[in-house]
């Protein structure tokens, strides 16, 4: 038997919510970035599962997943560079202590 589509959807929903919790609750900026990576991965699992179950003869779902990879790589590179820059100038990676723009 093939694994039903719903199983994949529930799994990726759970993965997305775990990532969202990390983004909302963690203090370390790197941990927040990890949460974002988890959420992007959940989206990719969704895209590939939909491709496999609804349109396996095409390639659109996989192509979309590849573009998500590109965005994830760019986001990780720039995000980590920002974290290192903040750490250099303010000596912290705890986002609550980075309040330059706070009125």
């Amino acid at each position: 038997m093939m694994v039903p589509l719903e199983w994949y959807l529930i799994l990726s929903a759970a993965l997305f919510c775990i990532g969202a919790y990390a983004v909302l609750a963690r203090r370390n900026a790197i941990a927040i970035l990890m949460g974002i990576e988890l959420m992007l991965n959940a989206v990719n699992v969704n895209l590939v599962a939909f491709w496999r179950h609804l349109e396996p003869a095409g390639a659109t779902g996989q192509a979309f997943a590849l573009f998500v990879y590109v965005v994830a790589a760019a986001e990780a590179a720039v995000g980590l560079a920002l974290i290192i820059a903040i750490w250099r100038s303010r000596d912290t990676v705890v986002l609550e202590e980075v309040d330059l723009l706070k009125g």
């Binding site: 038997m1 203090r27 496999r52 192509a63 994830a72 590179a77 990676v93």
Partner: protein
């Protein structure tokens, strides 16, 4: 092979979700990064189950080989702040937890309440060739493909510029 697919799904799913939970709950940020790598491995297994071997390989190359190593480097460079006595979650963590659980409840209700139809046939033998042709096809994704390469170049230069030591 067909019969053991649900078993493999459960194994990979448990690896993925268990490791993801460890990522968000570990105090030590370095351990969290290692569990993040395990999560990526579990997801690569799911791609193999979904008959997308190219994406499974890309998952290992980009995430395990690239992004995870980048994160480990960033942790090393900001090592001092990863001290264990630092509280890992902020004051509103319980609101975040409630929001995440509520989101999951809503998503679960919607996903299970909808009829997604039956699986439509099997994956063609040449699905990887088809993916390559689709990416470079003027009727397909060649414009997003080129824009993606420009985006990667901009991100590369931007990351170097931002993280460079000012004098």
């Amino acid at each position: 092979m067909e019969e053991i697919q649900p078993i493999l799904f459960v194994i990979f799913g448990l690896i993925t979700l268990g490791a993801a939970l460890q990522v968000v709950t570990r105090r030590n940020i370095f351990h969290a990064a290692l569990f993040l790598i395990l999560t990526f491995f579990g997801i690569a297994g799911l791609y193999v189950l979904l008959e997308a071997p190219f994406l499974a390989a890309v998952q290992l190359f980009i995430y395990v080989g690239g992004i995870a190593i980048l994160i480990v480097f960033a942790i090393m460079l900001t090592r001092r702040m990863a001290s264990p006595e630092l509280d890992p979650v902020n004051r509103q963590w319980w609101i975040g937890a409630i929001a995440a659980v509520a989101l999951f409840a809503v998503l679960g209700l919607v996903l299970l309440g909808h009829d997604w139809g039956q699986a439509a046939g099997s994956v063609p033998e040449d699905s990887i060739q088809l993916l390559g042709r689709t990416l470079l096809d003027p009727e397909g994704f060649v414009l997003p493909f080129e824009v993606a390469s420009v985006l990667l170049l901009v991100a590369l230069i931007g990351a170097v510029t931002i993280a460079r030591e000012r004098r």
